[in-house]
Symmetry: C2
Subunit: 278 residues, 2 copies
């Protein structure tokens, strides 16, 4: 059996990460999860834009050209039999001496892992079951929006979803208002509009969220609006779905006891995704 | 020249960390920084107590016995010439498949690195210069107190201290009230009392903070009290100092333009530390 996950550091295949490493020690970096179809990264520019934002916020070196080159290099080395691949790209601050203080380096580590996906990403995922995550997202406006490597909250929420046999969880902010799901952005449909929570204090601005707001939503005749949403807004919605890079969009079948059986907007958005990749 | 940092994974010396690793991917774990004098860890039980608290909060396996054994094993392998050693012990959730959801494993990874300290830890550090960190600590009561691996805020504050040629920074919460320094807990002296910020929404409950509250403070005739403190309280204090495992306590010479030249309480506490290690 061939290996299902392969890893490269700065363009070289590795099995182990040379230490010290600041992702391992502090989560000192940012990452992206890309979907590749036949070795082609989808919506690459949106990923690179968000990555660049993260590099800026964390004062990491501007290594976007190297990231682009290494994604292409890794993609070219993938097994041609892999139809769908999940590629994780981490940009990690250069290692240095013990302690929090970073070294001043023009370089960053670029760690890329590629995993075979054993489902057909051109098929809409079955509607998801969800509960509400017990852990709420921290209030941290300085880091909101970027996809940094400090992801304990997502791990704890994912452990809960798993133990409750749920596909996902709605994740709330400290005030108890919905922000997202664990691994994706949250949307609801209300009176002809698609609404998604603002990401001022927490949350990650997903590439598919951007695509829905700028392209897929308008293309199906829906305005998409960021706004403050409550749990009541969510439960009263006509339709609920979420987005992430590996599933594009996924309908929500239920949140706790509230169920939905209409997923037409989500299905229409997914057809836009299919148009994009054809 | 001998190597100044050595690393062990689960008791085996390593130069590189086998991937995947959940500290590298998500910061999914906790850590301790211990000070060793002649290969003997100081205040080991306080470190293990806090570590256990972290394991509990993150639902990590109860591996305290293994941690204790591996600390002893690593300590026994250190160069006898090393008088003072900084030992970092990370407990990392077991690796698993791609994604946030953890695997259910009775084991955790125990990663230990040991670094030679090139100063005499039995000498009080020179009074520190400090500014106020621009980044404020996130409001996250679910993770407050524990020393988890999501430490981007400390990295960003340490970068600021470095760029401003300061020894440390005062770190504030989202409301603008002081919580700690970057790598240590904060204390002030006011009318015969030692005061330290409560750690309800953020911050790490340091082992030396506990020791000051329970032993060193009372031993020098001071009650130590946790309370909500403002920046004004700090600036109006008769004396300011901080604590961490590598320096025990360190006096503060200035915060921005406010200076202190009295450090008698801090000096008395440091003598308690010296009594402890004799």
């Amino acid at each position: 059996m061939s290996q299902q996950t392969l890893t490269w550091l700065d363009g070289t295949p590795i099995l182990a990460l040379p230490l010290p490493d600041r992702a391992t020690d502090f989560g000192d970096g940012v990452f992206e999860t890309l979907l590749l179809q036949h070795r082609k990264p989808l919506l690459l520019e949106l990923h690179l834009e968000r990555l660049q934002q993260g590099l800026l916020v964390l004062s990491l070196p501007d290594c976007l050209d190297q990231v682009r080159q290494q994604i292409a290099l890794v993609a070219s080395q993938l097994d041609g039999q892999w139809i769908w691949t999940a590629m994780r790209v981490s940009v990690i601050r250069s290692p240095g001496p013990r302690g929090y203080a970073p070294v001043n380096s023009p370089y960053a580590r670029i760690l890329i892992s590629a995993s075979l996906i054993n489902r057909d990403c051109a098929t809409l995922s079955a509607a998801a079951t969800m509960s509400i995550a017990n852990i709420r997202l921290a209030t941290q406006p300085a880091l909101a929006g970027i996809k940094h490597l400090n992801r304990l909250e997502q791990v704890l929420a994912a452990a809960q979803a798993q133990s409750e046999h749920m596909d996902e969880c709605v994740v709330l902010d400290q005030a108890g208002d919905p922000v997202s799901v664990i691994a994706g952005n949250l949307f609801l449909v209300r009176r002809g509009e698609i609404l998604t929570p603002t990401l001022v204090d927490c949350g990650i601005a997903g590439t598919r969220r951007t695509q829905i707001m700028k392209c897929w939503g308008p293309a199906i005749g829906f305005a998409v609006r960021e706004t403050k949403l409550t749990l009541a807004d969510l439960m009263d919605a006509e339709e609920v779905f979420y987005s992430n890079s590996l599933q594009a969009v996924r309908p929500v079948q239920r949140i706790n006891d509230r169920t939905w059986d209409t997923h037409t907007v989500c299905e229409a958005l997914f057809r836009q995704f299919l148009d994009d990749i054809e």
